[in-house]
């Protein structure tokens, strides 16, 4: 190798090291995820490893906020951040934790169900890493993560993912999707351990009703919808009618018995909880979306989805107002309220009573349209 080649090689090496250090710091910073402020009813912040110690000292361990009322009652669990690229899931959990006043019973809230997924982004998706919104205490920055566990924590994926215990086969990348890993197993991979931890919490605390908060791309058929395990269908039907009467367009589906690994199937089958999953419309998911940006993630705006609405490709209406985060969180929080009310009707001795959490009207319908897209949601956060 000539002298000239050595110089070029050295230059390339220096550039590579500079890029490596710079981006390395950026990727490491993503491992610090912001946590909710404690709301009026938060009595304890535990870790999921308190229910399953196999998660201790792993990136799968995650805070569990315990909101205990003064009166005895039943227990509910709210799962936010199952998919860390579906912000209305974890932002609803944040809002619940920071605003709820629980009078009877106990509500467990996990803002980041797949904590590991919060610490990276999906290669190839060109997603944003952070978004900032004004709150009561000033600007707060939140993470935007990935659908799946960080490969730093669980790698490599097998060619084919075989679900335990059903033996259902899915694409290998689904191995890191916690909503294909339930009921989980104590000696499985990290994602299966996280799912097992959630199931253990439900079993130990006798959680009567569980909510899993999701978002889907507007072209995905199951959207603006609730999916419930068959043992939760009575409650889900009653709650769904209330939502419809309240002006929220909500479809109700029973969990398919042949599609495994999801909360609404496995938590219903392997625990005594009534498992309910809700989906809202997220413009930053899907293949039809336009350029990535904060306005897409929390404003819910996207020009290409407007075009695809005209093409009849979508399962939700989509216009220039999009689907702002307030509408999406409002749907989730109102859904939790109505389904818990229906649960209380069926289980008066195990009632879960709370107030103070903004619903669909406060968050979306009654809001000044100019404040939608983060600012209005932030006004409820500490």
């Amino acid at each position: 190798m000539g002298k000239k080649n050595y110089i070029s090689a050295a230059l390339c090496l220096v550039v590579a090291i500079v890029i490596m250090v710079g981006t390395g710091k950026n990727f490491l910073a993503a491992r610090e995820v912001p946590l909710p402020e404690k709301g009026p009813s938060v009595t304890e912040v535990k870790m999921l490893s308190d229910w399953f110690d196999g998660l201790k000292d792993t990136n799968g361990d995650t805070p569990v906020y315990v909101l205990k009322g003064e009166k005895e009652g039943g227990a509910a669990l709210v799962l936010g951040g199952t998919h860390a690229n579906e912000p209305s899931g974890y932002m609803s959990a944040f809002t619940f934790i920071e605003t709820a006043v629980v009078e009877a019973g106990t509500v467990y809230v996990i803002p980041y169900t797949n904590h590991s997924a919060m610490t990276h982004n999906d290669p190839g998706e060109g997603n944003i890493q952070y978004f900032t919104i004004p709150t009561q205490s000033g600007e707060r920055t939140f993470r935007f993560g990935s659908r799946a566990t960080n490969p730093i924590d669980q790698w490599p994926d097998p060619d084919v993912y075989v679900h335990y215990p059903s033996n259902q086969q899915l694409s290998g990348s689904e191995t890191r999707n916690i909503n294909r890993a339930y009921p989980g197993r104590p000696d499985g991979n990290l994602t299966e351990k996280m799912a097992y931890g959630v199931a253990e919490l439900i079993r130990t605390e006798n959680v009567g009703i569980t909510f899993d908060l999701h978002e889907a791309s507007p072209e995905y058929p199951v959207i603006n919808a609730t999916v419930a395990h068959q043992n939760a269908m009575d409650i889900a039907s009653e709650g769904c009618i209330e939502l419809l009467l309240g002006g929220i367009d909500m479809a109700l589906e029973q969990s398919p018995t042949n599609f495994h690994g999801l909360t609404h199937r496995e938590l219903g089958d392997f625990t005594d909880t009534m498992a309910i999953l809700m989906e809202t419309a997220n413009a930053s998911q899907g293949r039809l979306r336009g350029a990535s940006g904060v306005e897409q993630v929390i404003g819910g705006l996207d020009r290409f989805y407007e075009i695809n609405e005209d093409l009849g490709m979508l399962y939700v209406p989509f216009d220039e107002n999009g689907h702002p985060i307030e509408e999406r969180c409002g749907r989730h929080l109102q859904g939790i309220y109505e389904y818990i009310a229906a649960y209380n009707n069926a289980n008066p001795d195990d009632a879960i009573i709370y107030s103070g959490v903004p619903g669909y009207d406060e968050l979306f319908l009654n809001a000044d349209p100019a404040t939608l897209g983060g600012a209005h949601l932030g006004s409820f956060l500490k």
Partner: protein, 424 residues
């Protein structure tokens, strides 16, 4: 003109200028193209996105590097010569059957792993000398390898593009076996006979026999086959026992290390260095491709392309599938399945979803024949010792068109086929 279209034009222009005007390697041209897209799209030089995108294909890169090491080891250990001579000696009297068997062997690693690269570089490299000794010309041999790789990747039991498309609308990967078999095996037998039969049927066995190198067989006996047997056993175990999932790279590495002790002496370090050197351009292309996709998505170019395809009238969607899925596969066949396969499947929800997803996966698989990545074409050319891979792609043009028509027929007739080929 929308900013997305301008960005797309800028990316394609910089790529073409890099490749043809500046004569830069394809990988570097893709990086420059991604940077140009990032600049035109208003994101400056989005270093974080470039690095993140580069990691998209890290698993594939590992498979390629280790499969190449394995291939060189079995070549230098004498295993390839041994198995070629055995197959010809045993089966030369039934050439058509032998060709079909050879095709199945080429497809096997792809069927197990879902990777055309694994097929071409492992079983393909074993069968290439057999085919050439029997009189199949180098180019036709490469064609058989390439098509075997693509069809092996799509054939059951493991078809990753079908899984990716199914996952997009939550269809579990079950019930795909028969549709995928019908989509792949008839074509595989057709192509191997198309390329090979006329050469093999006039084979003069005595001439061929004189060329067979049986020395390694005589010297090492069964021992020389151990790395091949081990690779097959490990691949099959990975499939049958999920808890044993050690991954393709480790399967190839373990078999390669064992191969160092079962035949002629091998300097593993030198072989590894040579192997990685020979696949470095392909690994570079995959890194560039990752950056390219990331910037396309970041800037909305991906959405622009997909929306354009969806905006076509219903009849034109068949044409869009035929053109856009293999073309997008130039970036990656798995990417094509994910980015275009899922929306196309959504437009055909009135048809049987499993058959449509299976057929779309077959067409997406052609991405592995589309330059600049063209993994199946590049490695097939490399295995038979050709310097350029473009003649292989030209040779495979008609089979590729047949694949497209076959796939579209399945989509159009999905509801007619459904009672016969969807079990349960």
């Amino acid at each position: 003109m929308s900013i997305e279209l301008i960005t797309f034009i800028a990316m394609v222009a910089v790529f073409l200028l890099g490749c043809f005007a500046a004569k830069l390697p394809v990988s570097i041209s893709m990086v420059l193209s991604a940077i140009a897209g990032s600049l035109v799209g208003g994101h400056g030089i989005a270093v974080r996105h470039l690095v993140e995108g580069m990691f998209s294909y890290v698993d594939t890169i590992l498979v390629i590097a280790t499969a190449m090491i394995f291939m060189k080891v079995i070549q230098e250990s004498g295993a390839l010569d041994a198995i070629a001579s055995v197959i010809i000696e045993r089966f030369h009297k039934v050439p058509a059957l032998m060709l079909c068997m050879i095709m199945l062997i080429i497809m096997f690693p792809g069927m197990i792993t879902g990777s055309s690269t694994a097929s071409v570089l492992s079983a393909g490299s074993i069968m290439a000398p057999v085919l050439m000794l029997m009189g199949v010309p180098m180019l036709e041999t490469a064609g058989i390898l390439a098509m075997g790789g693509v069809l092996g990747m799509i054939a059951p039991p493991t078809n990753i593009p079908a899984m990716v498309i199914g996952a997009g609308i939550d269809i579990p990967y079950s019930g795909f076996g028969l549709p995928l078999s019908l989509l792949t095996f008839p074509l595989a037998f057709l192509f191997v006979l198309m390329f090979g039969y006329k050469h093999v049927k006039k084979m003069n066995y005595l001439e061929v026999q004189a060329k067979l190198n049986t020395e390694s067989r005589k010297k090492f006996g069964f021992k020389v086959y151990i790395p091949l047997v081990l690779a097959i056993v490990l691949m099959t175990l990975t499939k049958l026992v999920p808890s044993f999932s050690i991954g393709m790279p480790l399967v190839f590495l373990i078999s390669a290390v064992v191969g160092c002790f079962t035949g002629y002496k091998i300097n593993l370090l030198k072989v590894s260095k040579d192997s990685v050197n020979s696949v470095l351009p392909v690994m570079g292309i995959l890194m560039g491709v990752g950056m390219f996709i990331q910037i396309m998505t970041l800037t909305g170019v991906r959405g622009f392309i997909v929306t354009f395809c969806m905006s076509l009238p219903a009849w034109a969607r068949y044409i869009a599938i035929a053109i856009s899925m293999p073309l997008f596969g130039a970036v990656s066949s798995f990417g094509s399945a994910s980015v275009l396969g899922v929306p196309f499947l959504l437009t055909f929800l009135a048809q049987d979803e499993i058959i449509v997803a299976s057929a779309l996966s077959l067409i997406a698989g052609l991405g592995d024949m589309m330059p600049p990545t063209a993994l199946a074409g590049i490695f097939a050319a490399q295995v038979v010792g050709m310097e350029k891979y473009t003649p292989v792609l030209k040779k495979c043009l008609i089979p590729c068109l047949i694949i497209i028509v076959w796939g579209l027929l399945f989509i159009a007739g999905a509801n007619i086929l459904e009672p016969f080929i969807i079990l349960g």
